[in-house]
Every structure is written in structure tokens, then in C-alpha cells.
Amino acid sequence: MALLLRELEYVRPDSLEDAVRLLSELPDAGLLAGGQSLINVLKMRIGGYSTLIDISRLRELKAIEVGEKSLRVGAGVTYDELMHSMEVSLHRPTLVDVVGRIADPQVRNRGTLGGNCCYNDPTCHLPPILTAIGTVFEARGSHGTRMIPASEFFVSYYQTSLGPGEMLVALHVPKLKSRSGDGFVPLSVGGTDVLNIIAGAATVTLAEEGGIEEVVIVVTGASERPIRLESVEEGLKGTAGQPDDADRAFSLLDLALLDPPDDVHASAEYRRDMVPVFTRRALEQAMKNARRGIHD
């Protein structure tokens, strides 16, 4: 490993249309956005691409638009741009908090939402929270546009459901409903949010009387992809979300769902043990945020 990349070709198309065309035409071409993961892959000289299509300046990928039910966030929006988006802090504030934790200012100034999602490293911040809040991914290829729900987008380690020649152009993030809240709590190596051993994400909508109406709980780091803890969600629905409700619900956690990796950062066993801890913390944070919404 060194700061010496293999010889490669570079092209910076002026439009999204050109980018999509080049992606389908050029053999072994890859998209370069913020590069905060891809450049490291290139340094390692494992895999990588022989041609890079630089999409980091495409204005079409930078827009944040507010729709009726959701925000359309361009895939090329950087973490830093997202952190400073009034629209996002108004309509899905948790995203501002989550990206504000990613790595460090330097990475946030370059790294993009699309890059984070397409890289789909199990230690990344965005896949679990985007899955929990029901994000839909807008992909464009030579055959047109396709909408992919998060539950289908993240396939496995470093794999998404994007097909050859297809690129992620935007994320459709549902606006936070009333009486709702999100939570995101990672166990990160050394507390620096560069690598998450486990990340729990949750979103909750409360009924008017305060009980749990809807809940989604997601964990990453416990399997090849973000997984939903549906049995726990079922156990929580209709309850008041008090600690003993959570105790009962989490006792329903299906540990067989989990197939965590075993690596230098943590053993599979520890990761498995941490799943209920961090998903529950995420749930508690979501509940707190949802209740705050009620009091507002």
C-alpha cells in the first residue's frame, strides 16, 4: 500500500446525461464522487477501475428539493452540505446529526451521501439510518430511472442492487411525520466514528396517547446488510414503550438473523451481544425525539 495508484483514465463529464452514457459505454469504468472511500481502494490496488468518471461537480447531483412527503437529496451532496441544509434539518433532523458524526471535517467536506451508500461498507453510518427511515434510492441507467427501496438497495458487503451502467442520482428521504422521532447509536472504534462495529438505528411514530404506533429498528455490523429487527418491532407496537415493554420486545429478538463478522475490531460473539444494546439505545433515542415532537 502506498500513495501510488495504478495508471488510470479520467473523465469529467459536464452533464448527468453524459455521465450515464459514459458509464454504460466505457468498460471497467467507475464513478468518482467524493472519493473518500474509492481513493483508498485505488491505493490498495485491489479491484478498482481503469477509468474514473468524475461526477463530483455535477450540479444535477447537488440539489436538495422538498416534496410533499419526502426530500429529494442529490447523491452528490456532501456530508458537510447536508449538515448545513435548512431543509434537511427541518424535515429529517436526524440525518444532520448522523452525517455530522461521520469521520472528521476533512472527510465531510468531500464525502457524499451517494458515495456512502454505494460503497455500503458495514461500518458506514448511512445505510442503517436510511434503511430505518424508509429511504428510496433513485437510480438512473441507459434504460431510464428506477426507484429502489432501501430494503432492496443494500445487498451485501460492498454491494448494492445497482446494475451495470446504473448510477445513484438521488435519495428520497421521507419527511419526519408528526409524533415521530429517529435514533442512531453506533458502537464505534474509539469513539471517533470512523468505523462502526455495530450501529443501531430506529424510527418511531407515537399514537396520540403516546403509545408506539409504528416502529422500525435496524442494525448494521451484525450481518452482510442492514437488517430489521421485525420481531422486536412487533413486540413494541401498541405498547407504551416503557422499559419493561422494551425488555419484553427485545427478548423476542431472533438471534438467528444475525451473522456478524469476526475481525480485528470485534468478535462475532461480541457483535451479537451488542445488537440488542445499541438497537435499544437507538430506540430510546427515537422515543425521546418522538416525545419531544409531541410536546412541541
Binding site: A2, G190, G191
Partner: protein, 820 residues
């Protein structure tokens, strides 16, 4: 800094002792420092090293033909060629450990992942890197040896066949009478196993070198960041057949070392061979992954069968233990660590009966090298673990047992059981200061209040000594035939042609502020402002100011470096006084030096500026007063007073000074996850007389930061096949600004009676945070499962396991009542 002129007299406080702005800072904050990788030579070529992907494998064949045919490639170098061109590097170990053959490239086998196998030299770094991808190496993987304990098993692999085993060195250290101590004890506390893990200070600047060969004079010019260049020359010279005077080492700014850059001579040797082979200046840039894989690691040490005889009142009578030190695949600086630990045999404590059965072994891991706190921190950590475990098992207070067993200030200077002399210090007072820094009483109270609430607070103490200025005679305890002893550093202080004051030192500073502190010392002696003193950057043997020991390591600059500077400045002062006295017809003791002028005391008109003195000596020497032999160019070698140790008894004074660092901390452990959060951190240090308090405090901070990282986040780990699983900063979690708390400091000054200026070497920190954090974790465990904190590395997962250890599990600690 105040300077008061009263009539004809200048009264000035000394510059020594003041925290003046560092001279180094001006260039470093502007990006004008010159580091090894900043060197560019006309027509330079670039080397890339292809490294072993295996921990242990036989090299069946190497094919460089495709690489040599690649565009831009100038030359390649393989182990087969090296086998011809190089003799194995000198081994410090006696036979049979000394049979180990260490070459700059792997010759027949690779013995650690990352070991360089082929060097490719090309017109550009990119071309060298690209061509390395075309080299074909046929490996036959061999079983790997990963732990020190496995290295001693009869049926495992042997790394270096000629040695016959994996033992580099074995020795029994036995002082006092541990058997008698065991008979006299009320109890014997037995600890089965303590493990000190492998980590590295890993400076942010990796290794780098540019080597240029001049055939006309058969001389090599070596720009590099080696921090002990003449030691490197002693290794490279015989191996490469180069007289040491033909190796011109130049170091300038060095981006940290912490000892890690002492052994990079192996890589410099590759560059030297290629420079001669190609006739081109050879530039080598090491990257982080290379550095972590193949730079130098800290020693990993396992302590087994520890037995501690104690009295019921907590008096510790001695320690009996086995130690297995794992030095990785090649010893290099080792097995010096196998004796260096014995500079601090009893740590800060009074017990006098010690037996350590010490073995150093090779494994299929990166070679170790000195690493901040080198070899002492492992031992001091073990002692501090013992103190805490004994305290808890006997229901004694952790503070009281320390104070009771500490060597007391009135006992100083104190001779240890192995003949080392602790020069000065007040350990109980340092402990009190450290406890005040962390609000000890408050947190003990909080701890009791929180008991049973699920919030886990732990309080820990780490007592360490920072031994400085080695007596290299201790190497003879390892190998009786080694012709090493004493220590020393050289400085030259001169006037230049127009009277400029210029200081040269043999050292290789890496942030310790040598230019500043040397200028303070010289300014005081020559009546100058430190700004008027220029200190040359780095080590350059072309300046002819060095000994074989020159460099910056083992906490000695304040003693050896400044001792040499002081001696040279005094010689220059003496010459200036003689010359001025001759000019004015005055007695030398009537001359005073004030603001760059030599003058007769009380006679303002009888004064000559340094430029005038320089002119007389360098360009106008027919005017030198008759009979005067002055050069205004004065060199002095400082040699501490050392004797050769008694190698049979392993007894003698191994180090000149002993700085104290007592650290204390308060932690909170998340019971659900095992994560440790540091709530308070305090370090009290006693480094003797302070030349520049801010620099000393900075060293304390730095040692604390690295130690906290090592205790909680940083480990160099290998899997069973010898694959390194932490080869970069993704996996080697170097501590960041959000991982460390504000470290509070307090200092006392117990001047060393043995050093020229009362200062002590410092900067190692003795690994104190490892001790303090483990101590605090132990404090937590005794509130829960009573699990023993037996490893120096405690990431969240390990703490989580300890918190869940079954209460009926074998904790690895046994208290035996002595019925004798």
C-alpha cells in the same frame, strides 16, 4: 524574560529554567521544516519494496525479469544478490542466538508478513510501484509461530535453523533471596499469567532515506531520519563492507521516533546497495502500511508464574517470575531489552528479593525495536499489576500499599538490589500530587455513592520511573564479549568568522526542542540572548561532532546532550576570556561576557565584541596576543561516570538518572458494552531541575497520550497464520483528540546529584497510562466479578468479557497462607 541594566552591570536571570518560545517552531509552523522525504537530489531514482504476504514461508523462486523489462525500471535487487553483497548484520546476542542471520532483504525464507523480498528501482515512484506488481515470487508457506509461549514448545517451527531453537537469549536474574523471602512471608500471592501486548508509538513521519554514492571517494551520503546514526553505521559498516567514515549520515527535522527509527538501518542498507549498483541517488519513501508491517514494534512480554511474598500489613518482600519476551522475527536492537528492564528492577518499591527467569524468543512477527518506555514499561506494568492485585486480595488500600512500599525520599540516593542507584525523588509526594489532580477523595466518595446503581467508577494509579542515560556496559550482561560501556555525547560551540555563536550536537531531536534548550544553556554561559545562539539542525557526522552513542533515545539529552553543550560552551568561554585578557592586559578572571561582548569588569571602554575576537583568530592572526593558543572552536565530550557492571551477578549502575512519573486516573465503564471513558487524568512528574518546563510538560502529555492509546485502542495483532490484521490506521486505531481527556500535570523538582545540571532524562513516561488505566479497570472488576485485568490492552470487548467472567472461574490468582 527580564533583563535589567544597572549602571555598568547586567543582572540577568538564567535562561535555563524558562519556557521561552522554541527556536524550532518558526520553521515548523511555516512548513519550512526539512524532513527526510523532503530531500530531493538531481537524477534521483525511486525504490519500491515488494514485501512478503506471508508470515512464514520458504522462497522457492524469484523472477524479476518482467519487472526489469518494465518502463522506467533501472535495477532490481533480490535476496539472492543480497546474499552475495551483504554479510549478515551483527547480532548482539551471544551464540547460539548470535547465529541468527539478518539480511536487508529476505534470502531464503520470509519470517514476517511485510518483510522486504525484492527492491525495484525506477525513474519514478510510480514506475517502481508498477514494476513491483510484475515480480513473481514462488512461496512455500510454512506454519507460523505467533506467541512467545508457543516459540518455546518443542514441536513447533524453528525460525532460524542454525540457532536450533527460537531462543534469542535466556538468563536468570536473581538478587537478594527470594526463597528466604517466601519463607518469611505471611502470604504468597500467585498470579498465573500477565500479558503485555504489542503496540507501537508509530510516529506520523514514517521512515525515509535518500542515499547517494560517490565512486570517486567511495563515500555514501545518507539523508535519513535514523535516530541513532552511528549505531546504524556500526551495523551497516561490517555488513556492507563500508568503513564507517565513508557513511555520511545527515538527519534534519525528524517527525517523531519514540525509538522506532533506530532500526531503519536495514532499509538504508537496501538503498546503499542500490545506490552503488545503479550509480543514482536512491530515494526510499515508506508508507504507513509498510511502517506498521515492517518498521519496528514494541516488545510483547508474557509474565508467568508470578509469586509475591507479602506480609499481612502489605509489605511486599519480593517478586519471583518468568518472563518471555517476543522480539519478532529478527532481534536487531535486541536482546538489549532483556537487560534494559533491569534498570528499574524494584520499580518505585523497597522490596529487595527478585528472581526473574527471562527468555527472549523470535516469532513470525515484525521485529521489535525500542519504543517509548522501552523494556522498562513492560516490567513496571507487571509490578503495578502486582501491587493492585496484592492490595485487593489482601483488602488493603491501593494508595496506602504504595506509600508503604515506596522507596522514601530520605533513602535517596538509593541502591537497588541489582546495584542501580536511584538518584533522587519523592514518590509519596508525587502520588499525592497526582491524586489531587484527579480529585481523588471526591471520586472515592462518588464511587461509594454510586455503588449498586449500575454506574461503574474505577480509580487507578500508575507509578513509574523514567530511567535515563544508559550505561551501555549493561550490554555485557547480555553478551560478555560485547565491547560496550558508558555513554557520551559531543558538542561543539564556536564563534564563526563574524563572531556568530554556533552550536553543534551529535543528537537527532524529534520534537524535544534541543535547539532551544542548548541555546538556553549557551546563552547563560556566554552572556547572550538565546536568539543570538544558533544551534545546527540534526546530526551530521560531516560536522565531526559525535560518538558511537550519538543520537536521541533513552531519555538522555538533558544529561548527555546538554552536558556536552555546557562543557563545550565553558571551553569557549574560557578561550574568549583568555583572548580578551590578552588583548586588554587583564587577568582572565577579570573578563566578563555581556551581550556578545567580552569586557574587563567595571571598565566599559575595555570591551571587544565577539566579531572582533573572531576576526583576530580567523582572519587577522598576526594580532593574536603572544603565547595564546586559542581556536574559538571548542569541542567537548560529556561522559557520565560509569563502571562496567559485574556480569556474573548482573549487578551495577545501569543508568544515571531516574525521573519519576506518577499517574492517576478516574474512569467510568459502561457495563453494557465494556467501553471505558476517562473522567479525570493526572500526571505528576519529577524530572529533576527543569531547563524548559513547558517542553518537559509537553513530554508528559505526549507519553500520556500514547499510553492511553495503547491501553484502550492500539494493538498490533496477528492471526494464527501470521497475517497481520492491524496493518494500517483503519485497524490500528491510533488515538485521536476525541479519545484523550485534558491531561492535568503537576511537577516537582528533585535535582539529580549525578547530572551536570541537576536535570534528569525524561520523556518515556514509563508507560504510566497503561498501569493507571489497568489499575482503574481492576478497581472496577473488584466491585463486580473480581476478574483479573491480566492484559495491558483493554478494548471494550475485553472489559465486557471481564465484567461477565463467572465468579467461579479460575481468576488466575491464588493467595497462599504461609504455614512455615
Amino acid at each position: 524574560m527580564s533583563q535589567t541594566l544597572t549602571e555598568d552591570k547586567v543582572s540577568i536571570k538564567t535562561w535555563s529554567g524558562q519556557s521561552i518560545p522554541r527556536k524550532e517552531d518558526g520553521r515548523l509552523v511555516k512548513g519550512q521544516g526539512r524532513f527526510a522525504d523532503d530531500i530531493r537530489r538531481h537524477h534521483e531514482a525511486h525504490v519500491y519494496l515488494l514485501r512478503s504476504p506471508y508470515g512464514h514461508a520458504r522462497i522457492r523462486a524469484v523472477d524479476v525479469s518482467a519487472a526489469e523489462a518494465a518502463p522506467g525500471v533501472i535495477a532490481t535487487l533480490t535476496g539472492a544478490e543480497v546474499h552475495f553483497l551483504q554479510k549478515p548484520f551483527m547480532q548482539i546476542a551471544p551464540l547460539p542466538g548470535g547465529y541468527i542471520e539478518d539480511y536487508c532483504l529476505a534470502v531464503d525464507k520470509v519470517r514476517f508478513m511485510g518483510e522486504p523480498v525484492v527492491a525495484v528501482l525506477a525513474e519514478t515512484a510510480e514506475a517502481a510501484r508498477d514494476a513491483a506488481d510484475l515480480v513473481e515470487v514462488d512461496y512455500e508457506p510454512l506454519p507460523a509461530l505467533i506467541t512467545g509461549e508457543d516459540a518455546l514448545k518443542d514441536d513447533g517451527p524453528v525460525l532460524h535453523g542454525k540457532v536450533g531453537s527460537n531462543v534469542v537469549w535466556h538468563g536468570l536474574y536473581d538478587w537478594g533471596s527470594i526463597d528466604e523471602a517466601k519463607r518469611k512471608a505471611d502470604k504468597i500471592v500467585k498470579i498465573d499469567r500477565l500479558h503485555f501486548h504489542r503496540f507501537t508509538s508509530t510516529p506520523i513521519e514514517c521512515n525515509a532515506a535518500v542515499v547517494e554514492y560517490y565512486p570517486g571517494s567511495e563515500e555514501y551520503t545518507i539523508w535519513c531520519n535514523n535516530t541513532m546514526p552511528q549505531f546504524a553505521a556500526m551495523f551497516m559498516g561490517p555488513a556492507l563492507g563500508i568503513p564507517t567514515d565513508r557513511m555520511h549520515f545527515i538527519t534534519q527535522d525528524i517527525g517523531g521516533s519514540f525509538g522506532n527509527k533506530i532500526t531503519n538501518y536495514v532499509y538504508i542498507a537496501i538503498c546503499a546497495i542500490l545506490a552503488k549498483k545503479s550509480g543514482r541517488p536512491v530515494r526510499w519513501t515508506e508508507y504507513r502500511t509498510d511502517h506498521i508491517l515492517g518498521g519496528s514494534h514494541g516488545n510483547e512480554r508474557t509474565f508467568l508464574d508470578i509469586e509475591v511474598p507479602v506480609k499481612n500489613d502489605g509489605t511486599i518482600l519480593g517478586i519471583d517470575a518468568r518472563a518471555i519476551d517476543d522480539c519478532g522475527a529478527y532481534p536487531r536492537y535486541e536482546p538489549l531489552g532483556s537487560v534494559i528492564w533491569s534498570q528499574v528492577v524494584p520499580g518505585a518499591y523497597q522490596f529487595r528479593n527478585v528472581r526473574v527467569d527471562y527468555t527472549q524468543v523470535v516469532t513470525n512477527k515484525c521485529p521489535v525495536g525500542p519504543n517509548r518506555g522501552y523494556s522498562r514499561l513492560q516490567h513496571l506494568w507487571m509490578l503495578e499489576r502486582v501491587i493492585d492485585i496484592v492490595a485487593h486480595e489482601l483488602n488493603l488500600d491501593a494508595v496506602a500499599i504504595r506509600k508503604q512500599n515506596y522507596i522514601q525520599p530520605e533513602q535517596m540516593p538509593y541502591e537497588t538490589p541489582n546495584g542501580c542507584v536511584y538518584d533522587s525523588g519523592d514518590y509519596p509526594r508525587c502520588l499525592d500530587l497526582a491524586l489531587d489532580l484527579i480529585h481523588y477523595d471526591h471520586w472515592r466518595q462518588r464511587q461509594r455513592e454510586l455503588s449498586g446503581t449500575g454506574k461503574l467508577i474505577g480509580i487507578g494509579i500508575g507509578s513509574t520511573l523514567d530511567s535515563g542515560t544508559n550505561n551501555f556496559g549493561q550490554a555485557r550482561i547480555i553478551n560478555h564479549d560485547l565491547p560496550f560501556s558508558g555513554n557520551g555525547e559531543v558538542s561543539n560551540v564556536k564563534l564563526d568568522l563574524y563572531g556568530e555563536v554556533v552550536v553543534t550536537i551529535g543528537t537527532t531531536p524529534q520534537g524535544q526542542g534541543h535547539e532551544t534548550t542548548a541555546a538556553q544553556v549557551v546563552a547563560d554561559l556566554l552572556g547572550l540572548h538565546p536568539d543570538q545562539v544558533r544551534v545546527l539542525i540534526g546530526h551530521d557526522n560531516g560536522r565531526n561532532v559525535y560518538t558511537g552513542f550519538s543520537g536521541t533515545y533513552a531519555s538522555q539529552f538533558a544529561v548527555t546532550g546538554l552536558g556536552a553543550v555546557r562543557g563545550a560552551a565553558l571551553k569557549l568561554k574560557n578561550e574568549i576570556e583568555l583572548l580578551a585578557a590578552g588583548i586588554f592586559g587583564a587577568a582572565p578572571d577579570a573578563i566578563e561576557l555581556v551581550d556578545g561582548t567580552a569586557r574587563v569588569k567595571g571598565k566599559a571602554e575595555m570591551a571587544i565584541p565577539f566579531i572582533g575576537l573572531a576576526n583576530i583568530v580567523f582572519a587577522n592572526n598576526a594580532t593574536i596576543p603572544d603565547g595564546l593558543d586559542v581556536s574559538l572552536n571548542c569541542t567537548y565530550t560529556y561522559r557520565p561516570s560509569f563502571k562496567i557492571p559485574d556480569v556474573e551477578r548482573k549487578f551495577g549502575n545501569l543508568t544515571l538518572t531516574y525521573a519519576t512519573q506518577i499517574h492517576a486516573c478516574v474512569i467510568e465503564v459502561d457495563e453494557a458494552t465494556g467501553e471505558t471513558k476517562i473522567l479525570e487524568y493526572g500526571a505528576a512528574d519529577d524530572s529533576g531541575t527543569l531547563i524548559h518546563p513547558q517542553i518537559v510538560e509537553g513530554q508528559v502529555h505526549g507519553a500520556a497520550g500514547l499510553g492511553i492509546g495503547a491501553a484502550l485502542y492500539e494493538a498490533l495483532e496477528y492471526d494464527a497464520e501470521g497475517q497481520m490484521i492491524s496493518p494500517n490506521f483503519y485497524a490500528y486505531k491510533a488515538v485521536t483528540a476525541v479519545d484523550v481527556p485534558m491531561i492535568k500535570t503537576a511537577a516537582i523538582e528533585s535535582p539529580s546529584p549525578f547530572s551536570p545540571n541537576g536535570a534528569k532524562g525524561m520523556g518515556e513516561g514509563g508507560g504510566a497510562p497503561l498501569h493507571a488505566i489497568c489499575s482503574a479497570l481492576q478497581d472496577v472488576m473488584y466491585q463486580r466479578t473480581r476478574a483479573i485485568v491480566s492484559d495491558s490492552y483493554n478494548p471494550a470487548e475485553r472489559v465486557y468479557r471481564l465484567l461477565r467472567q463467572s465468579e467461579t472461574a479460575n481468576r488466575g490468582v491464588h493467595v497462599i497462607e504461609n504455614r512455615a
